[in-house]
């Protein structure tokens, strides 16, 4: 599959009605990813509603409630490909109430497309979604200034919005080359897959061309190797009598046979004897590989433990500070007890202190005694056992966690370790 096609994961963002679903529908249409029956359905219902054009948002808003209200409620994952690239797009909701779904969609993405309605310019949701993109350290942000057809394709409008947005970029951790501005009309397909003749003043790439040339870093590609043990493979068959393979996904860096490794939490050391990918023995594995590893010595290592190169060991602590985004309507309170899931490892966690709630418009913080749905704040935790982590900045996979509450076992928060 797709061996020679790269995989790019994208999330859309922006306020209600900025045209996110329409943009995705347009990308699908222009890359010929929509089936005839779907196009016909869109034509029929667009006609019914008395539009002069096709309403492409109907291609992605799959829940009945969404189609009734004309808004997106939950993340939809959409797939399409060009000759060179496989795309996965998370179409996220713009409505403030569903900000958590934007966080969810963006967490698995490398690229965010933030839409701005050219008539409205930079508004509160733009701040918020850009803030979240910054928090999540998305590799590339595309600012699509949409509905240019409604402002006569005026370059001045575009420049004004770009300048406003640049002021935000200056307050963020992003560098200029991580941000790209494209004036588009999702509805008419201007600068989506086709260079717009209406906007000759824009000389950059179309959105699709731009997305295709990106080389974004994935969750797995980061700094140094981290191998959380997911499942211990013990065949207990005649042929594999003594085999004890530690299986899991490799993050952050390569591991190879002969590497000297440290095992956490025991801090014992050993050497990698073999690396298995199905029935093949391999010499070295790149980040993102799901593999099984055997070691030179008999060691105590089980699910939730971690194997790392001895040359770069992560922090192991029972206390940590993290930026939290609350993704459930049950608020996070001081003294609250949760199951903290860090990768595949679970420990108990207690909220020691909520230091602040963070304003998502880059204007600072305020004190808070709880974090409500969609709130972002800085929180101190105490854990029942140490976890082996990096900061989110250093290693996304090893620097993030979720909190599970003990009643319904809902996932209530996501944390980014500092």
């Amino acid at each position: 599959m797709s061996e020679n096609r790269k995989l790019i994961k994208i999330a859309t963002a922006g306020s209600v009605d900025d045209g996110k679903s329409t943009l995705i529908g347009r990308l699908l249409y222009d890359t010929k990813s929509l089936t005839t029956d779907k196009i016909e359905a869109i034509e029929r219902s667009s006609k019914q509603r008395g539009y002069d054009y096709l309403d492409f948002s109907l291609a992605t808003d799959g829940l009945v409630a969404e189609r009734e209200q004309g808004i997106t409620i939950d993340v939809a994952h959409i797939y399409f490909n060009t000759d060179k690239t496989n795309f996965i797009v998370a179409d996220t909701p713009g409505h403030v109430e569903y900000t958590r779904n934007m966080v969810t969609g963006a967490s698995t993405s490398q690229v965010a497309i933030i839409l701005i309605d050219a008539r409205k310019g930079v508004i509160e949701q733009t701040y918020r979604h850009f803030f979240i993109s910054n928090l999540l350290r998305i590799s590339h942000v595309v600012v699509a200034i949409n509905k240019m057809d409604l402002v006569n394709y005026d370059e001045e409008v575009y420049l004004k919005i770009k300048a406003d947005f640049d002021a935000l970029v200056a307050k963020s951790d992003f560098t200029e080359d991580q941000i790209t501005f494209i004036p588009v009309s999702a509805l008419k397909g201007e600068n989506i897959a086709r260079q717009s003749e209406e906007m000759p003043w824009y000389v950059g790439n179309t959105l699709l061309d731009h997305l295709e040339v990106l080389e974004p870093a994935d969750l797995q590609e980061h700094s140094v190797a981290r191998f959380p043990v997911q499942y211990v493979i013990r065949p207990k068959t005649e042929a594999w009598h003594d085999f004890r393979g530690f299986s899991g996904m490799l993050y952050g860096g390569n591991l190879k046979v002969g590497d000297e490794v440290t095992l956490l939490p025991s801090m014992n050391t050993s050497t990698i004897k073999s690396i298995h990918y199905f029935d093949q023995e391999i010499q070295e594995a790149a980040p993102g590989s799901s593999i099984a590893i055997t070691l030179d010595t008999e060691v105590d290592l089980s699910r939730g433990d971690m194997l790392v190169k001895s040359s770069s060991v992560p922090r192991s602590e029972k206390q940590l500070t993290a930026t939290i985004c609350q993704v459930n309507s049950k608020p996070l309170r001081v003294g609250g007890k949760y199951i903290l899931q860090h990768g595949v490892n679970r420990v108990l966690a207690k909220v020691d202190q909520i230091e602040s709630r963070i304003h998502t418009d880059f204007t600072g913080t305020e004190t808070a005694d709880q974090l409500k749905l969609n709130d972002i704040g800085r929180v101190h935790f105490r854990l029942s056992k140490p976890i082996h982590f990096d900061t989110y900045k250093e290693n996304k996979a090893n620097g993030s966690f979720i909190l599970i509450e003990e009643g319904e076992y809902d996932t209530v928060s996501v944390g980014f370790i500092e």
Binding site: M1, S2, H77, V103, T104, Q283, A286, G288, Q341
Partner: protein, 299 residues
Amino acid sequence: MNNLLIPNPKEAESIHIIREVAAQFERPVLLFSGGKDSITLVRLAQKAFYPARIPFPLLHVDTGHNFPETIEFRDRLVEELGLELIVRNVQDSIDQGKVREERGRYSSRNSLQTTTLLDAIEEFKFDACIGGARRDEEKARAKERVFSVRDDFGQWDEKNQRPELFDMLNGKIHNGQNVRCFPISNWTELDVWEYIKTENIEIPSIYFAHEREVFLRDGMIWTANEHVFREAHEEVLVKMVRFRTVGDMTCTAAVFSEAVSLDDVVGEIRDSSISERGARIDDKRSEAAMEKRKKVGYF
């Protein structure tokens, strides 16, 4: 020995998910239909646990109206890989009076499967059912989580789903609940076919073009045999067809095709003039089929 492994990201993700299922649940089961998606799941599960055996059984809910080729294939696969297979029959649920056979033109046992499945879940106390559903199949599926928590009645609460952040999966549940797990959520139909090709995975013969007795109705190509209700005027034709999905005969339509090898099949699906999701081949033909139907005075 291979030097450096550069992972196929979708495969690696699926293996990760399958290992999570084995680790987080006590009694998982793989729902096996004999179709290409569940065959792909079996290969991924092999890869997840090799050199150990797959640590959970397969469950096939047999409607009794499956293609015989699929059943033969199923039994051979299970035998070759040394898997444990559980079969539960819709016929038994009918005989026990739990469900009633549908009648008439569109009668199918497809929807009756749910009862048999839920009974099997209860009988074996399965807490996780691994399925081969993909998000690209359908709009509502596009909203489905990888770990989808169901209540005692197996129901999906689409507006109240657990958010899934990064690749962390929360499978914690209470007694009586169970989770549907979808390791190939992020695969497209083309991904599956390309994978079957690269991995050289065997699949049932009905996926390749073959001559079959069929009849046309509503722009679809139906298998003509004793399990499928057919009106007297619906004429039986012999055509070269293949199946894009394989399930119960009463709800699985064929497509006209000349594709006799995996290369042909992948080519057919990849070809931009043919849609990825199965509509276009049918559609193209269905214009003719529709016309024909109208001619015979569709009711």
